[in-house]
């Protein structure tokens, strides 16, 4: 453990969660643009990446009284945060995934009253759709699983499902309703968190592309480095560019958004085969995943590709994704599609994110690798990270997300 980090931990252990009054707080800015000149040296924490995860981390650290710099090569929430669905969902792929998603989902719930309108937070719930009896068995398993862990769910038979979602194909066997799941609009959620961070004194540096990070220094393509006791890498799919030893791979996804058709679907609808798609560690896959937005527009996903580096639309994948959606929602074909786009998720080999210190460098912390759950788990990620830094006991075990669990050790430069 480095001396500087030990010192910071010592300070915070003594002062607990109180803001350090000796720090000079920067005034909150009224615009989203980068603030004018401040000497960019000696922050407590520099966070690379102003997506939803970086923004959540900035808010947490700043609220605890640390001097935070949040940097991004472009604008707030422009990466996967802008591309993804904004689904806040509990998942049961593994205990660790469940713990983190449930923890973070409850944090979002407690924040919902503060969220401005443009964050479009809506507790529309999720319905996991079962197409056959085999999938209904899975529904009942999930119902049991969530029941024992305090997550309310409801098993729907075919008739009940049809009543809740009349546009679903006739032949569905039923589904599982998870009423506490929600949706929101991620870029504005990220912006909201950044604004809160700035109210607590965080500095925002946009348009700065980090080219190197380590040993308490973040170097940028325009010169003028930032030094910080701790550096958080929240660069999503580009984390591996900054941290060569980190096992993050880009996982491309496609989305389509329609014109306004209020009430066409009422809940986020996901096929149970989604889990098989998310499971696959190689090969391209699509899965039915559709979301109603507060505007009444329908967001259609989802797809996963490994190895695709270009951001253009792949028509093969788009075809398969839309055909899959038509199989579940036959009338979706008649809706007008306004836009298609792609994005890159940050995927790790074991499908769990990397949250915590990087063993090769005592100044580095990772907060990345969230694959399709970045929005959901962002608030939980920030809490876990801050708890690890301050030495507080995290509310859920942090070991499953530890970056040093990775098989490839980072070699000290």
């Amino acid at each position: 453990m480095g001396r500087e980090r030990g010192a910071i931990l010592a300070i915070y252990k003594v002062q607990g969660r109180e803001r350090l009054s000796t720090l000079i707080l920067e005034p909150p800015a009224s615009s989203a643009k980068t603030e004018p000149t401040m000497t960019d040296t000696a922050y407590d924490v520099a966070i690379v990446g102003a997506g939803i995860v970086g923004a959540a981390c900035a808010e947490e650290f700043a609220r605890r009284g640390m001097r935070v710099a949040l940097v991004d090569r472009d604008f707030v929430g422009g990466g996967a945060t802008a591309a993804g669905m904004g689904h806040i969902v509990v998942m049961d792929d593994s205990e660790a995934q469940f713990a983190l998603t449930r923890y973070a989902q409850r944090l979002w719930q407690s924040m919902r009253a503060d969220l401005p309108d443009d964050v479009e937070y809506e507790q529309s719930g999720t319905i996991w759709v079962a197409a056959d009896d085999e999938e209904m068995a899975e529904v009942r398993r999930k119902h049991e699983y969530y029941g024992t862990r305090g997550v309310p769910t409801e098993v729907l038979d075919a008739l009940e499902l049809k009543k809740l979602e009349p546009n679903l194909h006739e032949g569905m066997a039923g589904g599982l309703l998870v009423p506490e799941d929600a949706v929101l609009y991620p870029p504005c959620a990220a912006r909201f968190l950044v604004e809160k961070a700035r109210q607590h004194g965080a500095a925002l540096r946009l348009g700065k592309a980090a080219v190197q990070a380590g040993r308490g220094v973040v170097g940028f393509s325009d010169g003028s480095p930032i030094s910080a006791g701790l550096i958080v890498i929240a660069g999503g799919a580009w984390a591996a560019d900054l941290m060569p030893g980190v096992e993050i791979k880009k996982r491309k996804g496609h989305l389509v958004i329609t014109d306004r058709y209020p009430g066409f679907v009422r809940h986020q609808l996901v096929e149970l085969g989604y889990l098989k798609s998310a499971h696959s560690v190689s090969g391209d896959s699509v899965a039915f995943n559709v979301q109603p937005r507060k505007t009444g527009q329908i967001l259609i996903g989802s797809s996963r590709q490994y190895g695709a580096e270009h951001a253009g639309v792949d028509h093969d994948i788009l075809d398969r994704m839309l055909l899959r959606a038509e199989q579940y929602l036959p009338r979706i074909g008649t809706l007008a599609a306004i836009r298609t786009w792609t994005g890159f998720r940050a995927a790790t080999p074991d499908k769990l994110p990397l949250i915590g210190p990087w063993s090769g460098d005592s100044s580095l912390l990772l907060a990345t690798g969230h694959e399709g759950l970045g929005i959901t788990t962002s608030l939980g990620t920030a809490r876990l990270l801050v708890d690890q830094v301050t030495g507080a006991k995290p509310e859920i075990p942090a070991e499953p997300y530890s970056p040093s669990r990775a098989s490839q050790e980072h070699v000290d430069a």
Binding site: P187, V256, D259, L318, D319, E326, R331, A336, T340
Partner: protein, 435 residues
């Protein structure tokens, strides 16, 4: 045409002057040609059919030549995507067509530039070409008071047309300076056809007030337009009216060329002397290569048509005519460039994005179009930024981002091709949606 053919030697996108000329000369060379156009009839905007009858002589000439050949006409079809190289997906209502081509001629024309100002969202505030189009489609205009505003030769043409239909054109408000307009008028002498048209317009517009150095400040009304405040001679003037026909010159429709990967020179599609773009086999003619009016569009269309049909000799014969017509294009650019005062037209609460009701004040803090779009929803509506994009480009110097399919809103089922195994709409698929 009932021909169900979907493979063509030459496919022409756009049925205005450039497209009609291109398709005609190519067809006269014996190649299989189709025209695909969003409108119900040929002619594009400038040669739009009128339900009141009466037709442009030059248009009649080209239409007659076109119809003498077996050119397949796909009217009412919008090109929305390029699902694979050499194939365009076109949609019309529930129907779609996959159009396979050997050579493609993009003649997608232009649209008006709209700039936001207070009250511009009131019903009966329209584009200049917009109001003309509505009148051609049957809108009663006799006895209605109209203010025509903005910039460009279109204003005079619209004012003359409306006057002929019985409208009371109260004012033509042109933002260009008297100096520029005088030079424009003098230069017209070098373009005899234009001069003749100009003199004709002068006759038709006798008695109509014309103000240069003038622009709209505010449109007033409760649930529809009732009056306009215009800046004229440096002072605001309030004018009661029924319609405001306001457009700030023309913008090239370059979404399709961009989707195909064609390079631009500034705002226009880059073409060589054969009207070929930077993409092999894709040609471009008319307004997308530069706003130059009908004459240039006809010349470029013919060159593109002959080039696509392999008739380089015929194409080369028109190079001098094109060079002459291009001088007019440069004259237009110079004369009707937007003055910086127009950047101050919108108030902070003036909507810039009309699809999503995003006011100017919410856009200004952002550094780029993409940032603004993601954070305010500007440009996320069905117009896909065709109205607000050019406005923000002028007001805030933002550059638009790259184009993705669909380049026009399209039915989800039409985007979901499956390489021939196309799922047809099932029987009983009513468009009525559950709510």
């Amino acid at each position: 045409m009932s021909d169900e053919r979907t493979e063509f030697d030459v496919l022409v996108v756009g049925g205005g002057p450039a497209g009609m000329a291109a398709a005609t000369v190519a067809a006269e060379c014996g190649v299989q040609v189709a025209i695909v156009d969003d409108n119900r009839a040929l002619g594009g905007q400038i040669w739009r059919e009128s339900s009141r009858g009466g037709q442009h002589e030059e248009r009649n000439h080209w239409e007659a030549r076109l119809r003498a050949r077996q050119v397949q006409l796909l009217c009412g079809y919008r090109v929305v995507d390029q699902p694979e190289a050499g194939v365009l997906l076109a949609e019309s209502g529930e129907k779609y067509r996959e159009l396979r081509w050997q050579r493609l001629i993009v003649a997608t024309g232009a649209r008006e530039r709209f700039l936001p100002f207070p009250g511009w969202t009131l019903p009966n505030v329209m584009g200049a070409g917009g109001l003309q189009a509505m009148v051609k489609c049957g809108l009663p205009i006799r006895g209605k008071r109209v203010v025509v505003a903005g910039t460009g030769p279109l204003l005079l043409a619209v004012a003359a047309y409306l006057g002929k239909q019985g409208a009371a054109v109260v004012l033509v408000s042109e933002q260009a300076s008297w100096g520029r307009l005088a030079r424009f008028a003098a230069e017209l002498a070098r373009f005899p056809q234009k001069l003749w048209q100009g003199l004709g317009l002068r006759r038709e517009l006798a008695g109509v007030r014309f103000a240069a150095n003038s622009w709209p400040l505010e449109a007033h009304g409760d649930s529809r337009l009732e009056a306009v405040t215009v800046s004229a001679a440096g002072k605001p003037a309030n004018i009661a009216c029924d319609y405001l026909a306001c457009g700030f010159h023309l913008l090239p429709n370059v979404e399709l060329p961009l989707l195909l990967g064609c390079q631009l020179d500034g705002d226009y599609v880059r073409v060589d002397e054969w009207q070929q773009t930077t993409v092999e086999g894709v040609y471009c003619a008319g307004e997308p290569t530069g706003i130059g009016g009908v004459e240039l569009a006809l010349v470029e269309g013919q060159i593109a048509g002959w080039s696509a049909a392999g008739k380089v000799g015929e194409a080369r014969r028109l190079f001098p005519a094109r060079a002459r017509a291009q001088r007019f294009r440069r004259l237009l650019d110079r004369t009707f460039a937007l003055r910086p005062e127009l950047k101050r037209l919108p108030h902070p609460d003036t909507f810039v994005c009309r699809c999503e009701d995003v006011p100017y004040s919410r856009l200004r803090p952002h550094a780029s179009w993409r940032a603004a779009k993601l954070h305010t929803r500007c440009g996320m509506g069905p117009c896909q930024g065709r109205v607000c994009g050019p406005a923000t480009e002028f007001l805030l110097d933002w550059k638009a981002e790259s184009v993705r399919p669909p380049i026009f809103p399209a039915r989800v089922m039409n985007l979901a091709r499956h390489h021939g195994e196309k799922q047809q709409p099932g029987e009983g698929l009513e468009p009525e949606l559950e709510t």
